[in-house]
């Protein structure tokens, strides 16, 4: 499916707005092509492609609003979708929290689209999977994996003159390699906007190596350990901080950022001073859209600086009520790191546990952001700077806030993918002391 250019999207959306009779009207238009190949037991199990356009029209009369959607683009359909959104708005109860749409905005030019990814062919996908399968076969192991790529555009226009347009591409790959006797398991995941950076062979080699090396794991006692979390393991913990930066929840007293006495932790030091976390839509290694779904610009924002909470996310309603800038939630996050490689972090560790990946993360207590979950696909005991032997998986109970206070060292930042949310991040591997493992698991 061919994507609409900026001019084509502009012309189409102008036409839609011309049908509007509401006080306010906003139009979102998007088109995506996404394809995937799934494999298991060293063979392809399913593959598919979905292409679709979607036009969403929001109309408002005073504080009453309605939304309608359509995927046909002839004139009659365009008028129909506008009328339908207006009918729904007239029927809707008044929303006292409705905020008038934004006027024209200025956005930075996004860098999220890579032609090579948009041009990927079924043969390239099949070859990428074949390379991964070959590694598994050569290692006498069994692979299960998933490769997906997408390319698309999104555009937005409203009756106050706002217009935004963005194109993007993305590819995500993950693979689990298990030894034939199921005693060892390894995992690797990669995410890129540019598919030419994806090397399914080298990723599968890492997974296969972890599988072979993690077989015949020994049980060690649960307890508090120094851990080295690889970026994929850190991502699923830290994102629980990123997802809970909402100012309204904090102000209402129901967030880990709420404090006794009815105030919040905004402006306070919450974690180790080496922790700086920000988002930047123009970062070349992790580009994201330069505007969000309601038309607000996405800018470079520092969320935690030297351990201090610098910014919270706001809905436009809550920001207006509080008289502050309405900063939207970011599409990705970046944490500053150090200069050491993972191997150097291991070399500098007297006793510790190397964690490849964490799994089934759930919030146990939103007040302290206590999380539980398990290690998976490669957990190793480190002594005197060397990996000594594989160990059985652990269940942990730990808060990422406590964890970032127990920071020992940060390594070199790399791009990783959360297996829980599928969001991409730039994160360093991190050495943490007193990480709480509470029980053993027999799972491989």
């Amino acid at each position: 499916m061919i994507l609409l250019t900026k001019d084509e999207a502009y012309t189409l959306m102008k036409k839609v707005l011309a049908y509007s009779k509401a006080d306010e009207c906003e139009v979102n238009l998007s088109g995506t092509n996404s394809s995937n190949v799934r494999y298991a037991r060293n063979a392809v199990s399913t593959s598919g492609t979905v292409s679709q356009y979607q036009l969403v029209v929001s109309s408002a009369f005073g504080k009453k609003s309605g939304i309608a959607t359509i995927n046909e683009f002839d004139d009659a359909s365009l008028e129909k979708v506008v009328r339908r959104s207006e009918e729904l708005a007239q029927l809707a109860p008044e929303n006292p929290e409705y905020v008038s749409i934004l006027g024209p905005q200025t956005y930075a030019e996004p860098v999220t689209y890579v032609q090579a990814t948009a041009a990927i062919t079924p043969k390239m996908r099949a070859d990428a999977v074949a390379q991964s399968l070959q590694v598994a076969k050569d290692s006498k192991a069994v692979a299960a994996g998933f490769l997906e790529d997408n390319n698309g555009f999104s555009a937005m226009m409203n009756s106050k003159g706002l217009f935004a347009y963005n194109t993007s591409t993305n590819t995500n790959f993950s693979v689990t390699v298990r030894t034939e006797d199921s005693k060892g398991s390894g995992y690797a995941t990669r995410g890129y906007n540019d598919v030419t950076r994806l090397n399914t062979k080298s990723a599968t080699q890492i997974a296969a190596e972890k599988a072979v090396k993690s077989a015949t794991a020994k049980a060690i006692e649960p307890g508090k350990y120094t851990v080295i979390l690889e970026p994929a393991a850190a991502a699923v913990l830290l994102e629980n901080i990123f997802f809970n930066m909402d100012a309204r929840q904090a102000d209402e007293g129901r967030s880990f950022l709420s404090k006794a006495g009815g105030t919040t932790r905004l402006g306070e030091k919450l974690v180790d001073e080496r922790v700086t976390i920000y988002s930047d839509p123009l970062n070349p290694d992790l580009p994201t859209s330069t505007w969000n779904g309601d038309g607000r610009p996405q800018e470079k924002i520092t969320w935690i600086e030297k351990g201090v909470i610098k910014n919270l996310t706001y809905s436009r309603y809550w920001a207006e009520k509080k008289g502050v800038k309405a900063i939207p939630g970011p599409d990705a996050a970046i944490m500053e790191g150090g200069t050491k490689t993972l191997e150097e972090l291991i070399a500098g560790t007297k006793k510790g546990v190397l964690v490849t990946r964490l799994w089934y993360i759930r919030t146990v207590d939103p007040q302290s952001l206590l999380l539980t979950g398990l290690t998976r696909d490669g957990t190793f005991y480190i002594e005197n700077g060397k990996i000594q032997y594989p160990i059985k998986n652990f269940r942990f109970n730990e808060s990422p806030v406590i964890m970032l206070n127990n920071l020992e060292e940060l390594g070199k930042v790399e791009r990783t993918v959360s297996v829980e949310s599928n969001v991409n991040y730039l994160l360093p591997p991190m050495k943490i002391r007193d990480f709480t493992f509470s029980s053993l698991s027999d799972a491989v």
Partner: protein, 546 residues
């Protein structure tokens, strides 16, 4: 469950709950939800286009699903309606076997031409993928049923109830909570209608109308002075029912400990929210649990999730075989363990059955998404593992020649695959109430409702929280507890079960958005049980200060 594929309904109260809107799901007007665009006879003509086209192209098997999927979601907080969303998704999915290999294609162009093209694509994909195939697909035989229908036995179609009536009920729910001391109240109502037409080259033309409903809320109490906050979620269960679930009947109410009210086949949401507010208030000052071994008395709306995670999932044959290894994981429950005929999954009290016909359950349908008539079968008998959950193309691996009928696709544009049926714990045969059970416990904890849950990828080690916790000392409930979670190992846990209450206590828990597969698909499933006792389970304290 992948968050990217989901729209977050509200940031509040429903923290982890994401609302799935199918890829081709479009918001529509209220009236449109009650339209019936195609008659069964018209769908049969369209389905035959797929069946004939595929046959002509050399397919040895074809099924076609013409589906119309309707959803209505209403969300409110305090005295405000936050969102009313009506969605419709209509299209057709065609699955074929050609050259011994599966192929699938879908389109929302539900015309003879559109269906023909999709069928051609499905056959082409099957032929292209056949080079990766190690051995040809082998289907368990199924009878052709001719033209048949099945409908969820609802009394009141929730889509026909005026939105104003539903909004009013949710706002009264919030108001009931606020009057009883809640600081905040969020309530939501999810309604689903799947209008599914299935036809296959085996000679079945199956027209089904499936309904599901889930009313739920989160009530929060904030203690500004201490900075503490506590929440209590609804004790409702999502059900395979119509709006009648929200018309409370006294005979469906059970008295729980400490003034709790528990619900069976109808639900009093306003009453529950009022109780919830009082309980959330009590949680602010309740004592923190002393970690250690406790006898646990688990009520069905809690135990259902433990059944789901530690029995329902590990017994899925595709997972056992490794098809989910890269996402949901594999399973400790190997084919060898099943074949041994001696694997002690649980104590003698444990009788677990799968049942796709259970009235009121989320998984109930007449026929599954590959045209197999649904049934009930045993999974664990007197504690021994006796069967798995399998569909047509895998059941032969178990040496069985009849599918269990638990194949499902979340929409017409997703390929169907093995999903968990309703999996339930049979009630105890001797008369025994939850009051009697509590009286017999010396040192224990009574746990109601679902909470935090996590289990490893082979389903050995798990940790569960709950909604409310009460301490039991010498047969008496002595007060509420905070910071409770229990950790165990699946086999050890089910072997620690010493008693299951009788059928008077039996009721269903449900999971509305169970995720599996890549790309991820959701399905809805129920788990029935009676209150049960598990001895000497490890309880940890989850309280932390940051």
């Amino acid at each position: 469950m992948r968050r990217r594929d989901f729209v977050q309904l509200t940031g509040l109260g429903l923290g982890g709950l994401m609302l799935p809107l199918g890829a081709n799901s479009n918001p529509v007007s209220l009236e449109a939800l009650l339209d019936s665009p195609l008659l069964a006879s018209q769908k049969k003509v369209l389905a035959d286009v797929a069946l004939n086209t595929a046959k002509g192209l050399g397919a040895t098997y074809t099924d076609v699903r013409i589906g119309r999927y309707l959803n209505q979601f209403i969300s409110t907080r305090e005295n405000k309606v936050q969102n009313i969303v009506n969605t419709e998704s209509f299209g057709v999915g065609v699955r074929v076997i050609a050259k011994g290999t599966w192929g699938f294609a879908a389109t929302n162009d539900v015309t003879p031409d559109g269906i023909k093209k999709a069928t051609e694509r499905a056959v082409a994909i099957a032929k292209a993928n056949s080079k990766f195939q190690k051995e040809p697909v082998k289907l368990a035989p199924v009878q052709g049923y001719g033209e048949v229908t099945w409908n969820t036995p609802i009394q009141k179609n929730s889509f026909e109830v005026p939105v104003s009536e539903k909004v009013d009920l949710l706002l009264r729910t919030n108001s009931g909570a606020l009057k009883n001391g809640a600081s905040f109240a969020n309530s939501n109502l999810f309604q689903v209608n799947e209008q599914k037409y299935f036809a296959s080259s085996d000679g079945s033309y199956i027209d089904q109308d499936v309904h599901r409903i889930w009313p739920t809320f989160t009530v929060s109490v904030i203690d500004r002075a201490s900075g503490k906050f506590k929440s209590r979620d609804a004790m409702s269960a999502p059900m395979g029912m119509g709006y009648e679930y929200l018309v409370p009947k006294n005979e469906d109410k059970l008295s729980g400990p400490a003034g709790m009210v528990l619900y069976r086949n109808s639900y009093d949401i306003v009453e529950d929210a009022s109780i919830a507010a009082k309980q959330a208030k009590e949680m602010i000052t309740a004592k923190s649990v002393e970690p250690g071994k406790y006898d646990l008395v688990l009520e069905p709306n809690h135990l259902g999730l433990t059944i789901h995670e530690s029995i329902g999932h590990p017994l899925e044959l595709d997972r056992i075989l490794g098809y989910e290894a890269n996402y949901a994981g594999t399973s400790f429950a190997s084919i060898d363990k099943l074949k041994s005929g001696t694997f002690n999954y649980g104590s003698k009290q444990i009788n677990i059955f799968a049942d796709k016909t259970q009235v009121g359950s989320l998984g109930a349908v007449g026929y599954d998404d590959e045209g197999v008539k649904c049934k009930r079968w045993d999974l664990i008998k007197d504690g021994i593992l006796v069967n798995f959950e399998a569909i047509r193309d895998q059941v032969h691996i178990l040496g069985q020649n009849e599918s269990h009928g638990c194949c499902y696709a979340q929409s017409w544009n997703d390929v169907q695959f093995q999903r968990m049926p309703n999996v339930s714990l049979a009630p105890g045969k001797d008369p025994y109430s939850s009051e009697q059970m509590i009286k017999a416990v010396e040192k224990g904890i009574y746990i109601a409702g679902r909470g935090s849950y996590s289990i490893d990828q082979q389903r050995y080690n798990f940790q569960f929280g709950g909604t409310t916790f009460y301490e039991i000392k010498n047969g008496q409930i002595t007060g509420m507890l905070n910071d409770v979670a229990y950790q165990s190992n699946t086999q050890e846990f089910w072997n620690s079960c010493v008693k299951v209450c009788d059928e008077k206590d039996y009721r269903m828990f449900g999971s509305f958005f169970d995720g599996k597969g890549q790309p991820s698909q959701v399905s809805a499933v129920s788990h029935g049980s009676s209150t049960s006792r598990f001895n000497a389970v490890n309880v940890i304290n989850t309280g932390r200060t940051i």
